[in-house]
Point group: C2
Chain length 636, copies 2
């Protein structure tokens, strides 16, 4: 992408219009990494036809209201405050009313009529209720409904596809044992060594143990079909938890003073004290008392050092908030140090401000440590990766519109400040046509298509919708009214359709997380089985002494309480110790929480619960997935 941009800027002068450029982001969609983006696009493509009827009706309604407005107002010779005519021409009326449906010119578009007679307010109120509140909600509902169905079908197809291939593999590998078709332990080992060559024999044995519910060292078809889910789980061996200090200066590290110190750091009061300190710091920042900054920074640095000493770097950095803290505080320390060294020449070090500002982000940590906010923050963190997918989708649209925008509007005007004198080239942002426009009055000249970054910023502003008609009016002034088509098309694609699909996704994802939170964890079959084996609920080793950890090193330790970005920073380790079923493997494993990792997993969680484990689909045809045939494999 970057090379495209550079090349664009170089090649810009020689090629006035290059039609292939807007289509270039389609490459992203076909890149192998863009599987999620491809899926999102397929979903958009399938959703659009379904809502087309509603959109057509929506535009017909706008046209109808435009006719009404024309009839009501055009003989009254009203004008806007700036003197432009009021509902005088049909297409202008449609434009004004379309802008009203985005709310961007409310209440300005109503005021001239409202000043004429109070009763005209009803026309606009009825219009807004029908075209904004009802139609827009219905469009959102239709998108939500169709998006959800399409997603469901996609997931179903992919689950069926997975099962089909595993079924085929089973047919090739099976042998008969005691009247049943099974895969033997030997075949299993051969297979797994090819699939995951880097893993140890103990790991392969453990996986077998998880699948093999009857404990007879054979895997039947039904069990084998869960192999893909099993391989998706990231089981990692737990490494030694001894810290650097513990290993090299054990006498000091384990002395009474040191133990007391560590106990102090582990105590609740330690946390509460520093949480309180963050609040005080926030207060100081808010009321701009800069002098205490050094004191706070020193305190927070001490906090981090103490924690590092107590928990060791490995355990310290595994938690999201600690790493976050470390990054924020130390960048602030460095920035402050440079600032202090430079003394008075502060003006030149404005970039350092950014680093100093990061200190404020420590406050976020407090939010994370309050129980009631955990669910919400966890949801946001879980949805995070998926938001990047939609970021990709939106970027593709932005790219296309940015390139087209640059072709049409590039160089029409520029930002030169607003204290230019008459007669200067740079007066009126270098284009006299802007004289008197709202665009110039609002000082929007920096919103232009002169380079790619500025184009992205202006498109983002258009996505937020407010004042988009003012921005559009500037480009209409320097080109022609036809420029409205560009802005209208952008609004329709990116705001009405893509943004609503994004909202539909968040609705779905959030409701899923919420349901899980209220009803207990949603698990895949494999995870359930792991729990049945007694390996699921593990004892957090975080706060136990290293000695204890060494004692039970044969334990399988799922780090459900130690996820990389856990909010559970100081949760009590109140879970029971588990029955040990994997003693013979002689290894400890972490079961990484997978929902953090991939968008796909979240999507699958959404709908996989609705597909029965035995269900392998009607045929294995993606087009006919709606009528799944049930195969009860137990009786086969």
């Amino acid at each position: 992408m970057i090379c495209f941009l550079i090349w664009d800027n170089v090649a810009h002068d020689t090629n006035p219009i290059r039609w292939s450029r807007p289509l270039r982001p389609l490459f992203i969609i076909n890149f192998s990494d863009g599987k999620q983006i491809r899926r999102a696009f397929r979903n958009i493509r399938r959703t659009v036809p379904e809502i087309l009827n509603i959109l057509v009706l929506f535009f017909l309604s706008i046209a109808l209201f435009a006719l009404l407005a024309l009839k009501l107002f055009n003989k009254r010779n009203l004008t806007y405050p700036d003197g432009t005519p009021y509902f005088k021409e049909f297409f202008d009326s449609i434009w004004d009313l379309y802008v009203l449906v985005t709310t961007a010119n409310n209440p300005d578009v109503m005021m001239p009529a409202y000043d004429e007679s109070n009763w005209f307010a009803f026309f606009f109120i009825i219009y807004i209720i029908i075209c904004l509140y009802i139609f827009m909600s219905i469009i959102l509902a239709a998108i939500y409904y169709n998006y959800r169905n399409n997603l469901k079908n996609e997931i179903r197809a992919s689950v069926y596809g997975k099962r089909k291939k595993l079924g085929e593999a089973f047919e090739l590998l099976k042998v008969e044992r005691g009247g049943e078709m099974v895969i033997t332990y030997q075949t299993w080992c051969c297979l797994l060594k090819k699939v995951i060559p880097k893993k140890s024999q103990a790991h392969i044995d453990l996986l077998m143990k998880i699948l093999d519910t009857k404990m007879n060292h054979q895997i039947v078809r039904k069990e084998f079909l869960q192999l893909a889910d099993l391989l998706q789980l990231e089981l990692t061996e737990v490494t030694d938890r001894m810290t650097f200090l513990e290993r090299y200066i054990p006498t000091i590290f384990n002395s009474t003073i040191s133990e007391g110190l560590k106990k102090g750091v582990r105590h609740k009061a330690f946390r509460y004290f520093f949480d309180f300190l963050i609040f005080v710091n926030a207060w100081f920042i808010g009321f701009d008392v800069d002098k205490a900054d050094w004191y706070f920074l020193a305190m927070f640095t001490v906090e981090i050092l103490l924690k590092l000493y107590t928990f060791g770097p490995k355990e310290f950095f595994v938690r999201f908030w600690n790493s976050f803290d470390f990054l924020v505080v130390f960048s602030a320390v460095i920035a402050s140090a440079i600032e202090a060294a430079e003394g008075a020449s502060r003006e030149e070090f404005k970039t350092l401000d950014l680093l100093l500002v990061l200190r404020v982000l420590r406050l976020v940590k407090i939010f994370g440590s309050i129980q009631r906010f955990k669910v919400v923050l966890q949801t946001i963190i879980n949805i995070g990766p998926s938001i990047f997918t939609y970021g990709g989708v939106i970027f593709v649209f932005y790219y296309i519109f940015a390139i087209i925008g640059m072709e049409i509007f590039s160089g029409k005007f520029d930002y030169y400040g607003y204290e230019t004198k008459e007669g200067d080239e740079s007066h009126f942002c270098g284009n006299p046509k802007l004289n008197g426009t709202a665009f110039f009055k609002y000082q929007y000249c920096n919103n232009n298509f002169n380079d790619f970054l500025k184009s992205l910023v202006i498109l983002f502003e258009l996505t937020v919708v407010n004042q988009w008609h003012v921005i559009a009016s500037g480009f209409v002034a320097v080109t022609s009214k036809a420029a409205r088509i560009y802005f209208f098309m952008f609004h329709l694609t990116c705001v009405v359709i893509v943004l609503n699909i994004f909202i539909a996704f968040i609705l779905e994802a959030f409701i899923l997380e919420y349901t899980i939170d209220k009803s207990g964890k949603l698990e895949s079959c494999v995870e359930t089985k792991i729990k049945q084996l007694g390996l699921g609920i593990g004892q957090g080793t975080r706060k136990t002494n290293p000695q204890e950890v060494q004692k039970d090193d044969t334990e399988l330790v799922p780090n459900e309480q130690l996820p990389e970005s856990s909010l559970d920073d100081d949760a009590e380790s109140d879970t029971d110790s588990i029955p040990d079923l994997s003693i013979e493997t002689g290894l400890k494993f972490h079961l990484k929480k997978k929902s953090r990792k991939k968008v796909e997993v979240l999507l699958q969680q959404m709908f996989e619960g609705e597909i029965k484990p035995e269900d392998e689909g009607h045929t294995f045809d993606e087009n006919e997935i709606n009528v799944p045939r049930k195969l009860t494999l137990d009786t086969v």
Copy 2:
């Protein structure tokens, strides 16, 4: 309500502040008619605590970003175009960022920083993504989720309540017959004559027949529990369909010419011709060709007269679009006639314009006659009554805020036009403090709290959100910054909470309608039974000759194709004639489509499908409705 308003205006001068007034709309909630509104309020009350955590986190995030903004910008001495300071004070920063989250000051709030350095755009983009797109979507999702659950529980409680009372009634009325506890035909007649005294014996017999599936003239408990659903169905006797003309001038009405005419009117081409004419008319209106108006009016009048002649008034007006047509065309005819009679004095008859404008609404009829739009329009019409419920809810909030607003802001300024001279009392809308404010520059003086209607209009404008900060700034200028609290509270209650609940309702209702549309009609048990009895799919008598109707006058005619507001204006009557099971009653009945009538029915449809017909609830306690116990009454 009206008398409150009048009294308010009378009493206004004597009582400067009357605290009871804002609370007055609470009466509406407790009126007996306000059952739906009460339910909506109960729902809001239960939903709010659930989203409180998210709201708190949302505001904390805004405060955090405000701190960041303060740190980033306050040493740069930037100003807005009008010279006001830029992120200089903490609470101003919070206000600016809260307004940004409503999008109302985008991109104005960003421009000074963006002009300073392009990279500052990222601060605002990240803020908008987090606080607008993510948080607002999550708030919508949380509201949707909680609203849906609360609604489900409400409906479940009311269904259980109904069943409980019917069960108690059954216990009182039952007698033993052949080992079963039943209600006999005699008891049934006694009971029904008390419940629906105005209905005929035939009607009561028919109801019995619908419930009595075993045809043994006895009703068991399970059947009896459906009595309430049955009584909700509006069965009306079909009256004679002979038209006035047919009865009094049969020779002319049934002559060859007349028959030919009627055949012509019934032909598709007749409809297509007039639909085409509406399009042409719309075109003429759009491009302001007024001269052909009389021609079009005459044509449409002829159309209506011909249809009246052919179908008779009863059959004509039963259909929504015909009544609509009649109203629109004849009000236009009357308006035009008055206008023509008055000749040149058109200026004084501006109110007539409104009637003339109504002609344009005929276009809506075309939308309704296009098959692909029918689903959408039907949905809107079905949701219609429920929207009025929410209209009631919003009115309550509006009333409270309007009264408070009038107490605080009434008479601070007024609209006198903008051509006033300096020194006049009415200059700057009568309040010099408005001088130089954006509020005055935008000419918003007519947006004030000087009377109740204007207050409602301004509150509606605030609901639409755009420019709400400008409106607020006007009132801040004439009072103090504390006025911001009023506008903030209004936005939080009416836009963030109530409006999102409204959108949640439309989402739910639309998805329901959509699902029904895709999967066939959702019916109550009773409706299913009626269809099983063969009384469900009836032959439309609309286009058959009266003679034929007289022949089969013993038929039960459900007017599924003749609902009051049917969009099915010219559908072919292609359904089969039904087996006649109600011959002995000697009556024809219309089964009125009930989904048009009450919000409650739509709500019940939403969730009743999820409750099994036999399920009478765990206990009959509304507080414990979550764990329903299943009673299979067949085995009792």
